[in-house]
């Protein structure tokens, strides 16, 4: 296996980076969208049941099925992979952001309003910072999930390490079939670990010491 890796070292590294980059971009876009959605959902209580149901259903859609649908909708394009990964990444962040925002003590919000903060200032300076530890946990879950989804999205020509897995599966019984699948899987696990360490670091830097667990 060492030889297999060494022969394809540059290519592997490149693909690992692509995998990482696809996931992080998708998670970033998804997180921003999810938080914005959560703010709206928490504002209108009738939306909350709907959102819960939708995200529960969303998480049960098999990734491969969604990828198939994307294929039918957008054809084979890198953007299709991005959209599929972002869709899954959105759900855990959305759920946590709703829970996090709902968990903010209403008396704190009222206190902030009572001091003359505008609703936007209350959101930015009080509600989001207080919900952030929970949202951040959602972002971590979502990133881990997106690592796997991105591998499947390689089926529609998404970039990254997933391609190796499909190559391996296609060549089952062939000389390097196991190597392909194994190296790609290990690679994804490593990339996921690196991403999680980076996110933990981000948490250290952005979660106030006053509310850190």
């Amino acid at each position: 296996m060492w030889d297999f890796i060494r022969e394809r070292q540059d290519q592997l590294l490149y693909n690992a980076f692509q995998h990482f980059s696809l996931v992080m971009q998708a998670v970033l876009v998804a997180s921003v969208l999810a938080v914005l959605l959560a703010v709206v959902i928490v504002r209108y209580s009738w939306l909350q049941g709907l959102a819960n149901a939708l995200s529960a259903i969303g998480l049960t859609i098999p990734a491969l099925a969604l990828v198939g649908v994307m294929l039918a909708l957008t054809g084979i394009q890198p953007i299709s992979a991005f959209v599929a990964v972002a869709f899954y990444a959105l759900l855990p962040v959305l759920r946590n952001a709703v829970v996090g925002l709902q968990g903010v003590d209403p008396t704190l919000v009222e206190s902030a309003r009572g001091m003359g903060m505008s609703p936007l200032a209350v959101l930015w300076r009080v509600r989001l910072p207080l919900a952030w530890p929970v949202i951040h946990a959602g972002v971590r879950t979502s990133t881990q999930m997106a690592m796997g989804i991105a591998a499947i999205a390689a089926y529609i020509l998404g970039p990254g390490l997933g391609g190796y897995i499909f190559t391996g599966l296609a060549q089952i019984g062939g000389a390097n079939a196991v190597n392909y699948a194994l190296v790609a899987t290990l690679g994804i696990v490593l990339v996921a670990l690196v991403a999680d360490v980076l996110l933990l670091l981000l948490g250290r830097l952005t979660i106030s010491k006053g509310i850190r667990a």
Binding site: T107, L108, E110, S111, R113, G114, M115, G116, G210, I211
Partner: protein
């Protein structure tokens, strides 16, 4: 902030008058209004306590002043100006708001919590920093120790102090408080009440404070508004009058029986004669202090720090070493504006049968003893007997 300048220069009052005119609040779907036509004038520079049973509309009435709740109808004027004239946010930056537990933002340090309103008002950084330190000093927290702490690193009482400092931050003429000391233990509550009185003596703000505790209302209020269901005023008067002549059965039931003990809540420590005793200063030779105490026939001394604040009350035999060291005991003192009732509570926990009395900024003034309080109670009883005799005489004549 013009109010401060128009009302502040003559009498040291920095507060503004508040007027409620036929204010009504009906919540959606409610059959009877939470507040049915409340009219009330709160004089500048006074503490007015809203007191009454739960659900009678105290909080609703309070929040209409800073427009956290918009009245259904009626007008509210602060310093003669309709509160609806400016935006709600602008209005609120000029009104301090302190609620139960302090309600500090847990993700911000003490300094950041206090700085919120000054920053919104555009103060520059150095002015904000100076103000934060001044306020921490005012509420009795050492700025260098506490400014960078987070709320969860503070006790309940300390959090509440910071809450008060935050309410005072931008020097607003009006401060609204909703059950501010409801979440702390009785001894801390008594201290916080004393501190509020001491701060108010300096600042003379207009403070509207909600409580369900009649004793707190009697102690803190220059005036008390006793409310009943629907925000109806049962009585609006000074604590003395409310205690001496309740307007009706509702008020007398709420106030409770006017026993002599309750009357002790009316007399302040500074109305009785305080006793002098021997004091010593941290760092001075122990022998000197002992000599002074023995000459005066005392068996203990009160140890003061360099700012005249009493720090301990050791017996002479407890004084060890060449120099007086900083006492480790947590001395409970009473403010001179405390009620005799509070002083009595404090005495009961002291082995000296007396309590140390402090004035502005916790400076030592003297001590109040059991004898002083019992003398005062006897005086009150004599007076009550006389009053009854007068009434009887008047009744017989009629």
């Amino acid at each position: 902030m013009t109010t401060q300048h128009t009302t502040g220069h003559t009498s040291g009052i920095s507060g503004a008058e508040i007027r409620l005119e036929e204010v009504v609040k009906r919540y959606p779907g409610q059959k009877t209004a939470a507040v049915e036509s409340l009219s009330l004038t709160i004089p500048a520079g006074e503490i007015v306590m809203f007191v009454g049973p739960s659900g009678c509309g105290k909080t609703t009435s309070l929040k209409m002043i800073n427009r956290l709740i918009e009245p259904t109808s009626g007008t509210i004027l602060i310093d003669g100006e309709d509160v609806r004239k400016s935006s709600a946010d602008e209005l609120r930056r000029k009104i301090g708001y302190v609620i139960q537990g302090g309600s500090l933002f847990p993700h911000m340090t003490v300094a950041k919590n206090i700085a919120i309103v000054p920053k919104m008002l555009g103060w520059d950084a150095s002015r904000v920093k100076g103000r934060v330190d001044d306020l921490l000093d005012l509420v009795g927290l050492d700025p260098s120790r506490y400014r960078d702490r987070y709320p969860r690193e503070l006790s309940g009482g300390q959090q509440q102090r910071v809450g008060v400092a935050r309410g005072l931050a931008a020097d607003p003429p009006v401060i609204l408080m909703d059950e501010p000391f409801g979440a702390v233990d009785p001894i801390t509550r008594q201290r916080l009440q004393d501190e509020l009185l001491s701060i108010q003596r300096e600042l003379r703000k207009t403070i509207v404070c909600v409580t369900h505790d009649i004793d707190e209302a009697i102690k803190l209020g220059d005036r008390i508004v006793i409310l009943r269901e629907g925000g109806h005023i049962a009585q609006y008067d000074t604590p003395e009058v409310v205690l001496a002549s309740p307007a009706d059965d509702f008020v007398s039931d709420f106030v409770g029986s006017g026993s002599t003990l309750k009357q002790l809540s009316l007399a302040r420590v500074n109305e009785v004669d305080l006793r002098e005793t021997v004091t010593a200063r941290i760092g001075e030779p122990t022998a000197d202090a002992v000599q002074r105490a023995e000459a005066a026939g005392e068996r203990s001394v009160i140890v003061l720090d360099d700012r005249d604040r009493p720090r301990g009350w050791p017996w002479l035999r407890q004084l060890k070493g060449d120099r007086i060291v900083e006492p480790t005991e947590d001395l409970v003192t009473v403010d001179e504006r405390s009620t005799l009732n509070d002083a009595l509570d404090t005495m009961l926990t002291s082995s000296h049968g007396a309590a140390v009395v402090t004035g502005d900024r916790d400076r030592y003034i003297g001590i109040v003893t059991f004898d002083t309080v019992t003398d005062h109670m006897r005086l009150l009883e004599d007076r009550a007997v006389e009053d009854r005799a007068h009434e009887q005489a008047a009744g017989e004549r009629a």
